[in-house]
Symmetry: C2
Subunit: 259 residues, 2 copies
């Protein structure tokens, strides 16, 4: 009963919802209060309306709004519309930045297809406390909107030293080195490692000591992000786009388009 | 007296200021009230401090804070540190989006090196009034911060029809077509046009009529921006990064790094 029936673009409901329940044919999914409120009072969906649901494990399914109460709602799952897929093993190691820029970074990193988001505390990191629940909610929202079938985990922050010491097998971490004269991302990933990380420093960049330590690590490679000095959030977007384009799932979808 | 003396990274003042005056050796530049206030009261710079100034025409110069009064300040220009350069002829045609996302797009587009920013009003554009002064100020601030020697002009909005009818010589405009199956930006720019534009639609995308009209224009080419549905602001960043990487000034700086 788990055969996937692809639906056409016109048949696709606009609304996608990330749920925690297991998904299979005819199963009833109970939505928690927040999601029920969102569907019924914000989107004003009524009984019988179809939405798409996914949980990061069982692919994407059609589901119909079956009942609404004050504090919850239930949906009946019908057919699978897409089988589960998994993003390229790409991690964003991100020194948190001020204001709502960290929230935007989580949103964009999700759209750009990262598998994991790991905040990193460096010497010059000013923002040292993060609201992980808020960031995770932003990742869920972005995943629902951009059509992906999984939500990147927003992990608790670690100090930069943890990244330096880590025994990372088959993983290459790129860091944007402002010193210049570094290879492009394409060149740095020419040996096509199995896992890739992108490390972006805080507003003030890395300290000279941190840069020396990063450059001394065999699994960390300095890269250049063009001729101008990019803000931390811009550097995240630029780095992730270039990684996806030459190594990740854009490389795959684009080479298909070329053929 | 206009020979450029490059200064080392350690000698470079942190503060860069965009001014309207002509710049040459020994000239006195009078700052307007807003800039004087910013230097003296926000940055707390005192007499004798050096900053870098640029005006988009005469390159970048060292200047020293010479006098401060309540409503203005003067700076004496000394030596040129970089000759004027000009960005690749890249225009962002942007349907304004809600909230502060348009401001962020102007900031990032400036950092990513666009020459012109032209808001475009489409059928589904919700935000139809723009505060051009605020957007221009954001472009100035981003240019000062990212080290570029010119500020992209934020032009007044035009309807999409103006872009469709325009006789654009030697210019290719790329638009992100959600229909899929389009070539990558690398493939679309393989003939290396002299001028490039990137057109990004509003939150709801282009209407079917608009898409047909865009596809019928000889100077407009559909491109793919990866396998997920990107928000308008994310699409701007992704498109500009990929254009700069294969066609613009990143291509140049990166091929130098490779050599």
């Amino acid at each position: 009963m788990k055969s996937t029936k692809p639906i056409t673009k016109d048949q696709r409901p606009n609304q996608r919802l990330f749920v925690s329940s297991d998904l299979s044919s005819d199963v009833l999914v109970t939505l928690e209060e927040g999601q029920a409120h969102y569907l019924v009072h914000v989107l004003r969906l009524s009984l019988g309306v179809q939405v798409l649901v996914f949980n990061g494990r069982d692919g994407e399914w059609l589901a119909e709004l079956k009942s609404i109460s004050k504090k919850s709602a239930t949906m009946q799952v019908s057919q699978q519309t897409r089988p589960q897929d998994y993003p390229a093993d790409l991690t964003l190691y991100l020194a948190p930045v001020k204001g709502d820029r960290t929230d935007f970074i989580v949103e964009k990193a999700t759209e750009l297809g990262v598998a994991h988001i790991r905040p990193v505390l460096t010497d010059r990191t000013i923002v040292r406390k993060l609201n992980q629940d808020r960031l995770s909610a932003r990742a869920v929202e972005a995943a629902e909107q951009c059509g992906r079938l999984s939500v990147p985990e927003v992990a608790p922050p670690v100090p930069l030293s943890a990244l330096l010491c880590a025994k990372m097998t088959e993983c290459v971490v790129l860091f944007a080195d402002e010193a210049g004269g570094c290879p492009s991302i394409q060149v740095a990933l020419a040996d096509r490692p199995l896992k890739v990380g992108l490390l972006i420093g805080p507003e003030g960049g890395f300290t000279p000591t941190e840069r020396r330590a990063l450059r001394a690590c065999s699994h960390i490679r300095p890269v250049s992000l063009g001729p101008r000095i990019l803000r931390a959030d811009t550097a995240c977007y630029a780095g992730l786009v270039l990684i996806q384009n030459c190594w990740g799932d854009w490389a795959y979808s684009l080479s298909c388009n070329k053929a």
